[in-house]
Symmetry: C2
DNA sequence: CTGGCTGCAAATCTTTTGCATCCTG
DNA sequence: CAGGATGCAAAAGATTTGCAGCCAG
């Protein structure tokens, strides 16, 4: 977890626990998921710390905040350029291969048209996963 | 507002007011925005009705629910296939031209790879709008 | 030692729910 | 007239805030 040092953030046990929980995590957990996962080993930790830490990690580019479900933030330790496929029924979220993204040309067009300076893009594809396709037939 | 009839929904004054407020609206308002806009003319209306109505309209395909800002739902009366450009600073949301979307091929690939049955896609491009680019320089 | 971080609790904000009443079709 | 829709208020869920005390650097 030397990543923390690079950013100048203090290396507290709480942060290490959160970082450790996120490392390689493909579940795209919400703040509450993270809190619940860690509190057994860290009963004293508060929600505020989880939120603060996630906010800090995001600001330092160590994690991404996803806007997939209205009403709940989700976080992704994978900061590479990728997008998501979401099951509208069971809420499972899986990563899409990097090939699936907007063409640079489309991005340029979008920015030029509206005069925006583009910072990031998020593509959400909603559907039914294999399991839910079966059970909802 | 004969659109309501087609769906079989009852044509109440509240619904008409909400429909009317949304008609041609390009602001992508939240439930609260809608409530505030309408309550002066309709002081008796409750939040529950706004939410119920929006939910119903969505289920009948008359509006789309956007997931752009975590923590708040937004609604769009434009149900055509289009996406959004969002200013991260002033929160302005503008429509993107229809040309900007995923290729059918990408969608097919995405679904096939994970076995999903794709229902819809949402592309959010975040950045700084012209005004905010200036002031934040 | 000092400023940033934590823990706690209360507050805020958004959305949902239960239920009695109302009114459209 | 019946069943869906409304209004109200309370509840639920997620996130934010203020502040005193703590601890990593």
């Amino acid at each position: 977890m030397e990543k923390l040092k690079k950013t100048g953030m203090k290396q507290t046990p709480q942060r290490l626990a959160i970082m450790h929980h996120l490392e390689g995590n493909k579940c795209h957990p919400s703040a509450e998921d993270i809190y619940k996962s860690i509190s057994p080993k860290f009963p004293s930790m508060s929600f505020a710390t989880v939120y603060n830490t996630l906010e800090n990690l995001k600001d330092h580019g160590l994690i991404k905040e996803l806007t997939i479900e209205s009403g709940k933030k989700r976080f992704d330790p994978d900061t590479s350029d990728h997008h998501h496929l979401i099951c509208v029924k069971c809420k499972k979220i899986v990563d899409l291969p990097q090939e699936i993204q907007l063409q640079q040309k489309a991005l340029t067009t979008a920015g030029v048209i509206k005069g925006f300076r583009i910072l990031s893009t998020q593509i959400n594809i909603y559907g039914l996963c294999p399991e839910c396709t079966k059970t909802s037939s």
